[in-house]
Amino acid sequence: MKRPEKVFFLILGMAVLSGCTVKAIGDPNRPITINAHITIDIKGLEKTASSIEDMVSGGQTK
């Protein structure tokens, strides 16, 4: 296989992988517990809070 073709298939593989769905199949009698840790973007939340408060005040704060 020529080098450009290798690169092509590598990129194609990455593209397919980035859009694929992973299914986990387990024993229904032994349910899997996943502890999800959610990281909150505080700066993003501050922007949201600020825009909501500006909307409530009609831009009259301070």
């Binding site: 450009p4 092509f8 593209a15 909150i40 939340l45 949201t48 809070a49 600020s50 909307m55 009609g58």
Partner: protein, 136 residues
């Protein structure tokens, strides 16, 4: 072959870039439910009255994202309770609609408290993170 390869490289880059943008957190009220709409409208309607009470030092912004009656009578408490009920509806909508998890309500409340402290005008009372009431 080179042209085809170039197109695929471009497509892959665009796909990757799109994925990154989607992965970035953007918190918002995504669905304006009747409850959230009503809460926001009620808050807008009482804003001027609440602002007047804040400037008199009768109401302050606490460090949990809510207003607190620091004086005044029953009517002030009623206003404070109504405001806080509406705020909680908005905070819960943000938590639920952004899949932040039930335990995140305190974080959302804390962030709103910080924003309220920043937006408070000079002379208004705010509670700092340590719990101390200060006049801005």
């Amino acid at each position: 072959m080179k042209k085809v390869l170039g197109s695929f490289v471009l497509a892959a880059v665009m796909l990757g870039a799109g994925g990154m943008v989607m992965a970035q957190p953007g918190y918002d009220i995504k669905v304006m439910t009747p409850q959230v709409k009503s809460a926001l409208e009620a808050r807008k309607a009482r804003f001027a009255e609440l602002k007047a009470l804040k400037s008199q030092g009768v109401v302050g912004e606490n460090n949990r994202g809510y207003v607190e009656a620091l004086g005044g009578g029953g009517n002030v408490k009623d206003l404070v309770n109504a405001e806080n009920a509406n705020r909680k509806e908005v905070y819960q909508a943000i938590v639920e609609q952004n899949d932040l998890g039930a335990g995140s309500l305190a974080t959302v409340e804390g962030v709103f408290a910080g924003v309220q402290r920043d937006k408070a005008a000079a002379g208004e009372k705010v509670q700092d993170p340590s719990g101390r009431w200060v006049t801005k």
